[in-house]
């Protein structure tokens, strides 16, 4: 009965209802797009960074992280791969042998990061082959050649097809020294990597270090939206905890996590202001409504309508309007995000360069995490219902005689 009354009431003045619903609609839409945008940018940044460095998760020998020496490597283990890939959220795994060495060409010598990789698996994750600016990408695990960052090559004054000498520490105190043909140069976004990385087929790296069949880590790539901690738990449980250790990128790169957290705080303040503006807009329309209907309400009370029932009807009315606004807002937000997920915005010009200098794709992604929709909608809904208490309060205080005469 009350519901029906409220429903009929809101459609008595269509224009007012539509205006209020629209303001809620835009509030929801804006909040969703804003959150989706920031989350999307972070997700993309994380994805970019971890695909070159640690991976979202990394499995390594227990104790490796504290002492990152080649002596703390583990044997390649097909069973471990199977176990990891069994998880539906795991998209790729990348076995790696990561060491430090001296690289020398001619008179120049530099300290470098030597990454023994599976070129095929790596290519699928971070499109390494597309970063090649000169020469070619390494094709198979036993290709006897290396690919290095452009910055490093220019420091060593070396070109494609020159011979790079690497000298480092091998497994169990053996010495690691070898010569490699430089097959290609690549431009990597992260300056640090660009100036210090040498990519080498895994088997070559293992042979050079006298560490046949051994790995420092297996990097695990996931769906962007996966719950990291939960997955870490489940992986940790599925593999031998005495032997392996699983770490998330947040543990391995706390500085990036902290950066995102600090940056998010700024976004939370902005979104807080957004909510503030939205609620005042809403409040304005509610105030107008109560003012317009004062006469009508006064008469209703005068002919015997209970005040608290009237208040409930008003509350229901605004709840309904908010729901309509939220519902349409979610649908619109969903469509907008779907569109941008399919056709992401590409930056151009200066901004593009800035992004690429940081090693991040110059693309704005939108996150389509369902959490965003639910949380943002709930916040707006809650706000509008809180505000709807005001008309109810007004009604309770209404003096019928004054109201009728106004």
């Amino acid at each position: 009965m009350l519901l029906k009354l409220a429903w009929l009431n809101i459609w008595r003045n269509k224009r007012r209802t539509i205006i209020t619903a629209t303001s809620v609609f835009f509030a929801v839409l804006l909040a969703i797009i804003f959150r989706s945008l920031t989350e999307g940018v972070y997700d993309n940044m994380i994805h970019n960074v971890v695909s070159y460095s640690s991976g979202y998760l990394q499995v390594h020998q227990k104790g490796y992280w504290d002492e990152q020496s080649i002596d703390n490597t583990f044997k390649e283990d097909e069973q471990l791969y199977q176990e990891l890939l069994k998880n539906p959220n795991v998209t790729h795994i990348m076995p790696r042998l990561q060491t430090f060495a001296l690289a020398s060409y001619g008179e120049k010598t530099r300290g470098v990061l030597v990454l023994g990789i599976d070129p095929v698996k790596e290519k699928a994750v971070n499109n390494l082959h597309e970063k090649i600016t000169d020469g070619q990408y390494i094709e198979t695990v036993n290709d006897n050649a290396v690919v290095l960052g452009e910055g490093l090559a220019s420091q060593l004054k070396l070109k494609v097809n020159d011979t790079l000498v690497l000298l480092g520490q091998g497994y169990h105190a053996s010495s690691a020294a070898a010569k490699f043909r430089v097959k290609g140069l690549m431009k990597l976004g992260a300056i640090e990597l660009n100036n210090s990385v040498v990519y080498m087929p895994l088997q070559q790296s293992q042979y050079m270090h006298g560490a046949e069949g051994r790995l420092t880590s297996v990097s695990v790539m996931l769906d962007k939206t996966t719950d990291l901690e939960k997955l870490k738990q489940s992986i940790q449980e599925s593999i031998d905890p005495e032997k392996y250790e699983v770490m998330t990128w947040k543990e391995m790169m706390p500085e990036m996590d902290q950066f995102i957290e600090a940056d998010s705080t700024g976004h939370y303040i902005i979104i807080g202001v957004l909510y503030f503006v939205i609620s005042f807009g809403l409040f304005g329309t509610l105030l107008m409504m109560i003012f317009e209907r004062k006469h009508e309400l006064g008469i209703l009370i005068a002919i015997g309508m209970k005040k608290h029932l009237l208040a409930i009807i008003l509350l229901l009315e605004s709840a309904m309007i908010s729901l309509i606004g939220c519902f349409t807002g979610v649908i619109a937000g969903f469509l907008v995000i779907k569109w941008f997920s399919a056709y992401p915005i590409h930056f151009t010009g200066e901004l593009k360069e800035v992004y690429e200098n940081y090693g991040i794709e110059s693309i704005i992604y939108f996150s389509s995490h369902e959490k965003i929709f639910i949380v943002q909608t709930l916040i707006v809904l809650l706000l509008s219902i809180l505000l709807a208490f005001y008309p109810g309060y007004k009604v309770m205080k209404l003096k019928p005689v004054e109201a009728i005469n106004s």
Binding site: L166, L167, H172, A173, S174, S175, A177, K179
Partner: protein, 256 residues
């Protein structure tokens, strides 16, 4: 007559003074002499040694075989003969220079002084220990601390403090030298804070190549439990003449 007496007398006094002085000198030199004797016992004029080095770590160990040539204080050369992957790697010491030839990359690297205190081929010995750039005789001041028994042998306990001009990282080194055979049986290395860093034990005295030497040397870093490095002398030929030219950077690349 009187003149002769005076000459006689003064000669007598002179002899007395000289005798006294030489006694004094002998007292001073003795600690140094002991160290020198021990050093020469192990080194000879030249030597050609076949050695095995075992690196012991808590979870693994590794064995390498090498050939080592030396001539006096100034020249020495070490060539790795196994494992196969590192075969042919050569270290050369020429007066104050140290070179490292790595055949797999065809590079001859001159080790800078800054690398002298770093680990040599992953062992507990430093590059400096290997090439003995610092002489245990001329780069230290020696002081006899007394006698102690090590491995049931009477030993001189001698404190060696590096001279300010010598490039030595230790604050002091204490050595125990067998008083009968003049062989160093134990050494303790202390860093600049006076902390004990390394203990070196020498044992298994054997007659190899016509000399009595300690055929097994073990190095224990004090702060790393379970770590040690063992050097075993399988064979040594002493005092076979070696030309100075043998110890050249050119020859490093050729020797077998």
């Amino acid at each position: 007559m009187k003149k002769i007496q005076i000459i006689k007398f003064s000669a007598y006094i002179l002899v007395c003074i000289m005798a006294l002085m030489s006694m004094q000198l002998q007292q001073d030199l003795s600690a140094k002499d002991i160290v020198k004797e021990a050093d020469e016992n192990m080194r000879g004029k030249t030597s050609l040694a076949d050695i095995t080095i075992i690196i012991i770590r808590p979870s693994w160990s590794r064995e390498m075989n090498m050939k080592a040539w030396s001539k006096g204080d100034d020249y020495s050369m070490i060539m790795v003969t196994s494992p196969a992957k590192e075969k042919g790697t050569v270290f050369l010491k020429r007066v104050k220079e140290v070179w490292n030839w790595i055949p797999s990359i065809e590079r001859n690297i001159k080790l800078p002084p800054s690398m002298m205190s770093q680990s040599w081929m992953g062992t507990d010995f430093t590059n400096d220990d290997l090439v003995k750039e610092a002489s245990s005789v001329s780069d230290y001041d020696h002081k006899l601390l007394g006698k102690e028994t090590v491995l049931n042998k009477d030993c001189y306990k001698i404190e060696m403090i590096p001279k300010p001009s010598a490039a030595i990282v230790w604050e002091k080194v204490i050595v125990w030298i067998d008083s009968k055979d003049f062989l160093q049986l134990k050494a303790e290395f202390y860093d600049e804070d006076g902390e004990l860093v390394n203990i070196m034990n020498s044992s298994e005295v054997k007659e190899i190549g016509g000399r009595k030497i300690t055929s097994k040397i073990e190095m224990f870093p004090v702060d790393k439990e379970g770590n040690s490095t063992v050097i075993i002398y399988n064979d040594i030929i002493f005092d076979q003449p070696i030309n100075d030219n043998f110890f050249s950077t050119r020859n490093m690349k050729q020797i077998k």
